[in-house]
Every structure is written in structure tokens, then in C-alpha cells.
Symmetry: C2
């Protein structure tokens, strides 16, 4: 069970280039359930998020299953919609890690900040840094699956 | 973690028509890791079996993840090789359930019996009924993934 909140940002923090980051490429086989393939640096995964759940909400069931490069390449070739490419910067903040997703084309200049929590209480009591803008946790337009599959609408 | 043994059979038991059964259709997206989609009667699943493991062996990691009919139909259309269709008869035997898989074309007259166990000890001490033939647990030719994908060899 993953509990997270998602925010747009007003500006990048000044020290954004000083943090660890990963290069992520991901694409979607299906949207309900969400079945996604992802390359993160040199590692490959398939992610499954539970059937029929409200995937825009705070908490959802999630499985991350390792893939070989060959399996990733095959499955990626079967996906629908856009391939999402983004740089994920990991920013420590008040005992949490902000995952700042800086999207490449065709989604540039989109930037989304995600924060994971151990409990719903912790999620609800989180005080965002001043460079965060709106809470878009429940806004389906900011779901990566919807970004990737938007051309289908 | 699933622990099971697999056998060919000498003959069908006389009362084979008296037991509960399911109609199964399944096909494979990838073979390493094994990613399979399955329809069992009116239910749909995707199954993942761990990367790089020896999937012919007694024990393997397995996730069964529910799908909608729409997600199943989409993923099934992306699979490789044959679609496997079989009738699975559930036969109680000495506290276990024998899953007797009676394959339809193009694999007919193939019949394979599988038995699941709670532990490796239980698996190793299992005494098969007299209508079982060879133990093919470690024979990769009897893996459903290999049956489905054999045309690729």
C-alpha cells in the first residue's frame, strides 16, 4: 500500500542540482488496472496498481516486479500512448524525501513533486516547503498514466 | 512462494467427471520473467513469476494480479505464441487437491496433473495415486510457457 501526496511547484529550489537523481522512462500497457513498465537508470520494472481503485487518491495498492532488459523492451513495444521521460531528483525534507519529477518532451515544462508517507495521518499533517504550489493529489490530470494516454481521449 | 509437483498420467480416474472444474485460457507476454494472462471461467488475472529463477523447479515466487475483462483482452492481444485452453479438474486426494489439466487443441491429448504443497518436505514425501505416471516437475517441456511459446524455437 503506497500513501503519497502530489504537488505542483512555484519554482525550483536553488540547490536542485546538488541532489541525487535518477533518469526514468516509463510507458503504460493498461490504465485499469494501471500496468506500467519503467526503466530507472539501468533497472527495469513492471508496476501493477490495483483494479478499479481510485488511483488519484492518497493510498493505493502497488506491486513493483523486476524485469530483464529484454522483457522491458518487448513490453515497452506493446504499450499505448506516449513514453514518459523524466529526471527524478530526490530532495530530503523534514525526514521525508521529495521526489521532484522534471519531465522531458512532450510534457516539458511540467514539474511535479511527490512525497511518500508511512501513514495517512503523516500524509495529512505534512507541511509543504514554500516552493510547493498546489496539492494535486486528487487531480487525475496529473496522473502519469493520464499524461501518457491523453492522446486517446 | 508456490511449491508444486507436476506429473504425467497413465489414465484418467474413473470418476473424473464428478469433480469441480474450471475452464482456463492463458497466454504469455514474456518468458523471463514469466508474465502470463489468464481467464479462469469469468475471472481475469495477470501472473508474474520471478526473474531468472529456475521456473521448472519445485518452488517459485508468484504474484496473481486481478485484471478487468478489457485489460485482459488488450494484453491477450499482445501475447506471443499459442493461446493455451484447458479444463482444470480439481480432485481431492489425501488432504491435497490434484489439479488435472486436460488440454484442448493444439495440445490435445496432453494431460498434466499438478499438486500444490505447503512445504518442500510435504512435496517430497507425497505419494502419488496409481494413475499418475512420471514426475515431470523439472522437465521444462511440460512448462505451460514453453508449450505456448514452442513455435518460436
Amino acid at each position: 500500500m503506497e500513501i503519497e501526496r502530489k504537488f505542483t511547484i512555484k519554482r525550483l529550489p536553488d540547490d536542485v542540482d546538488s541532489f541525487e537523481y535518477h533518469i526514468i522512462e516509463q510507458a503504460y500497457l493498461t490504465d485499469d488496472p494501471v500496468i506500467r513498465v519503467r526503466r530507472e537508470d539501468g533497472k527495469y520494472y513492471m508496476t501493477y496498481k490495483g483494479v478499479g481503485g481510485d488511483n488519484t487518491s492518497l493510498a493505493h495498492e502497488e506491486y513493483n516486479l523486476p524485469l530483464t532488459k529484454e522483457a522491458y523492451d518487448f513490453l515497452a513495444s506493446k504499450t499505448e500512448g506516449y513514453i514518459i521521460r523524466k529526471k527524478r531528483v530526490l530532495i530530503p525534507y523534514c525526514g521525508h524525501t521529495i521526489e521532484l519529477d522534471i519531465f522531458a518532451e512532450p510534457f516539458k515544462p511540467l514539474i511535479i513533486a511527490e512525497v511518500e508517507f508511512a501513514s495517512k495521518d503523516e500524509a495529512q499533517s505534512f507541511i509543504p516547503p514554500d516552493w510547493f504550489d498546489e496539492d494535486v493529489t486528487d487531480d487525475s490530470a496529473y496522473r502519469n498514466a493520464n499524461l501518457a494516454l491523453q492522446h486517446k481521449d
